[in-house]
Amino acid sequence: MDKNAKYKIADYVIKSALKNGASQVAVAINDNSSRRIEIREQKIDRLQESIGNSLSVDFYVDRKFSSHSTNLLKDKELEKFVKEAIEATKYLSEDEFRYLPEEELYYKGGAEDLRTIDPDIIKIDSKTKIDLARQVENEVFGTDERIVSVTSTYMDQVSHMILADSNGFRGESDNSYAGLVAEVSVKGDTGRPSDYWVEYDIFYDKLVKTGIGEKALERTLRKLNPKKIKSGKYNLIVDNMVAATLLSPFISALFGSSLYQKNSFLDGKINTKVASDKLSFIDDPLIISGLSSRHFDNEGLKAIKRTVVEKGFLRNYFINTYYGRKLDLPPTSGNISNIIFQNGTLDQNGLLKSVNKAILVTGFNGGNCNGATGDFSYGIEGFLVQNGEIIHPVSEMNITGNMNDFWNTLAAVGNDPYPYNSMQTPSLLFENTDVSGM
């Protein structure tokens, strides 16, 4: 479905909604296509292609609000969809804070192209993609007798979205990615550890296509035959690929909904010290070819680069217009984009050598964080490190603490931001964390 066809549907829904009693309406329409090829034991294990459309509509009937989505987009279906949604909305209670964003907050268009789509991805033929996935598997297949399974995957997706509302906002965004993944399992004395490696890019040509299987195997073999170590307080060096697990509850505590629902351990802490001075990060939606770059968010608000934490001081929350009104706070955006850290000087190896004894955490297993109090506890796996050297793998242990204290123990930040996540976390060194083992 091209852009004009989407705007045509959006205009039809807006017109129909206003005619049927809505006072305001916002429409998002998305179409995407994706392909996935999995290779296992030298054969195509799964070949999957998807093409989908979706429409979601926010209805404001006076100050009553409801939101509805459907993938049935024919005119006759939409007319019924709109009428029934508006009828249902009338049974709800009014909420004085429910209305579309104020005019001045919208993205007005005309900004630089963020280059978030590779239109050529869909032109790459299936054979090329299958060959690529095979090549990833071939890097390691049969190279080590301890291997029990190697799966390699090629995947790509192209998506186009438009957002339009009854205030006259119109915006569109296009995104793509191509990725290659290898997952390896090996057999040890006590279990069958597995690990993976992934490469990923907006542009097919820039996608790293070699070394993926080898890295996955190397990461898996080093995990063979782990030991549990004694409970105690340990320094933790958290690998850049997984550090986002620890940042997520911190970010969740910054959302307007969490603040309003008293589910935030960072409530009331704006411009106060919430972490060690080593922690500084921004939310930057305007990076050219950033994986989560955008000119406007899901409400149409103009994307702005903002400091979130500056040398341990909290500077901004993530507030959409609804919770902004309820909390009497200025709206920023209700969604994160690219979270970019102020990097340190050392790479992960440098961090390992900077401490006498530590646990290098390379994976989390379950666990959770109480959003209201910040109390957390997570399962970990990784390696015991002494004098800068990896001694042996460790597993079946937990870390436990409180997010308020924990971020104040951040002693160093690596120079290795992980590029394939919205939260581009570098490796992080925390001091004296409670670890439970034997």
């Binding site: 959003g371 597993s395 937990n398 439970s436």
Partner: protein, 508 residues
């Protein structure tokens, strides 16, 4: 972003979504005769047996072994209460057909959101590419399978307006607020969905299902002397509007108040290994994570599961029997027929300590040359079916709960969880304890909360030394995630004692 595949379970928190929309049933016209039930589903998706057969033949044209069509139309509604008012509502409609083609263990898959013949044939040609020879066209033979009914309902959600749900939500809100003066905020969400499923495969099997699902959840925030604690409670069943009763509301309100109140007294235990007693009901999360996922036959077929060489072996004490069951009436994990057209059943996974069955889909059952167990499940028509649990529980054992607690010198008692996870290969599993107690010298003492517990599946199973005779099922809103697909499940357990697990906590 690529997410590493992890198998997990969690209780739904507050998610949101009012209106209902079903396409009109068409009048059946001239075609191959089918039963009224089959005809109604064919009409619902505006397709004919001839069309389905043509699509299947196209899917098989490159020499596949098998192909199936999974039609789905799901309507989901959520109403949300915030600030004492039901002031937002959400709905979602999903409609389409997934076309799957198998060649040995290989899968070709595509879906279409349009059930016109042309669109379905295009998707079938895509999926057919997994095979690379040719096969003769087959004659049309329909074998109808009328599935059993494990979730009969009185009033379908399609007939219920949001207006009728609102009073139950406001009543629950009032009961929680009036139950304790420390209650500061309450969020309630009421969710229902109805799925219409039509299945047809290259063996001529035609079956169908109507799947209702509902949950009611409340998140309660209490404040005492500046300290804030919160709890989410929920109930979920495959039921219609009759799900909503005063008893349900009373039970949820009491649970919300009791469980949130207890948290103010709770702290963290000391870190380390200790005996763990798991109370009846929600502790079924242990089976789901520590054993259930590792018994899923895809992991075993691929040799990545730690149980892949243990079939027929003794893996637990004689008094331990573990079951995965799709036949519990109106249960969240119940299925009349799985998503591959296989009738649901009660599958004994561990019988008196012996590993007797994996959890199978069609691919793995063929691989192991056993009958499928009715565990082939998919999140929706956009995804391929894979082996998944339904309701997983342990049968009663020979001990008494009091006897079990009294046998522990130093350990913890837990029965309230928010989520769990497992790493299939190493077998390490975790569950996050929302609330529990220390056990000291055979007695429950100080309350504890917010700690993760980690153990190793085969070891933990072997370490279950006592099982009580008090099996309970959890009717919470459990969602199980695997390969990026979420499906509803349920679980249950009698009180059990595990010799040793590693408990998250503080060090002196």
């Amino acid at each position: 972003m690529y997410l590493k595949r992890r198998e997990f379970i969690r209780l739904s928190g507050i998610t949101m979504a009012g209106s209902v929309f079903i396409p009109p049933l068409l009048q059946s016209c001239n075609r191959i005769p089918v039963s009224n039930d089959a005809g109604a589903y064919l009409d619902h998706f505006e397709v004919s047996p001839e069309q389905l057969h043509k699509v299947i033949n196209t899917a098989m044209e490159k020499g596949a072994d098998y192909a199936d069509l999974f039609f789905e139309h799901t309507v989901t509604n959520t109403a949300a209460l915030q600030d004492n008012k039901v002031n937002s509502a959400y709905s979602d409609i999903q409609y389409g057909v997934g076309i799957r083609v198998l060649k040995g263990e290989q899968t070709g898959f595509a879906y279409s959101e349009d059930t016109s013949q042309e669109a379905m044939l295009q998707a079938a040609r895509t999926a057919a590419n997994i095979a690379d020879s040719n096969s003769p066209q087959k004659e049309l033979k329909i074998r109808e399978f009328q599935p059993p009914s494990f979730y009969s309902i009185i009033t379908p959600w399609e007939e219920v307006s949001i207006k009728e749900k609102v009073p139950y939500m406001t009543s629950l809100n009032e009961k929680i607020f009036s139950g304790d003066s420390r209650v500061n905020k309450v969020n309630i969400s009421m969710n229902d969905s109805s799925s219409f499923i039509l299945f047809y495969n290259s063996e001529g099997l035609m079956t169908w299902d109507y799947r209702p699902m509902t949950y009611l959840a409340a998140r309660t925030i209490m404040e005492e002397n500046g300290r804030i604690e919160n709890t989410s409670v929920s109930r979920s069943y495959r039921k219609g509007f009759e799900f909503l009763t005063e008893d349900l509301i009373d039970g949820l309100a009491k649970e919300a108040i009791n469980e949130t109140s207890l948290l103010f007294k709770a702290g963290k235990p000391r870190a380390g290994e200790m005996e763990v007693v798991m109370g009846p009901g929600r502790s079924g999360i242990l089976l789901h994570e520590a054993m259930g996922h590792s018994f899923e036959a895809d992991f075993n077929r691929k040799k990545t599961s730690i149980f892949s060489d243990k079939m027929g072996q003794k893996i637990a004490a004689d008094f331990i029997t573990i079951v995965d069951d799709g036949t519990l009436p109106n249960d969240r994990g119940a299925l009349n027929v799985d998503d591959e057209g296989i009738m649901s059943q009660r599958t004994v996974l561990v019988n008196n300590g012996l590993l007797t069955s994996y959890i199978h889909d069609r691919i793995s059952a063929k691989y192991y040359d056993v009958n499928p167990t009715g565990n082939g499940r998919r999140q929706d028509f956009r995804n391929v079916p894979i082996p998944r649990m339904r309701s997983t529980y342990m049968e009663n054992g020979p001990h008494e709960k009091e006897e079990i607690i009294a046998s522990v010198k130093r350990g913890i008692y837990v029965d309230n969880f928010s989520n769990g996870q497992v790493n299939i290969g190493p077998g390490d599993f975790t569950f996050f304890v929302k609330f529990g107690y220390l056990i000291e010298n055979g007695k429950l003492t100080t309350p504890i909360k917010d700690v993760n517990i980690i153990g190793n599946g085969p070891q933990a199973l072997a370490d279950i030394t006592m099982v009580a005779n008090d099996l309970q099922f959890s009717d919470g809103t459990w969602n199980c995630g695997k390969d990026g697909q979420s499906v509803p499940v349920s679980l249950g357990l009698p009180t059990v004692k595990i010799k040793k697990l590693t408990v998250g906590g503080l060090n002196a």
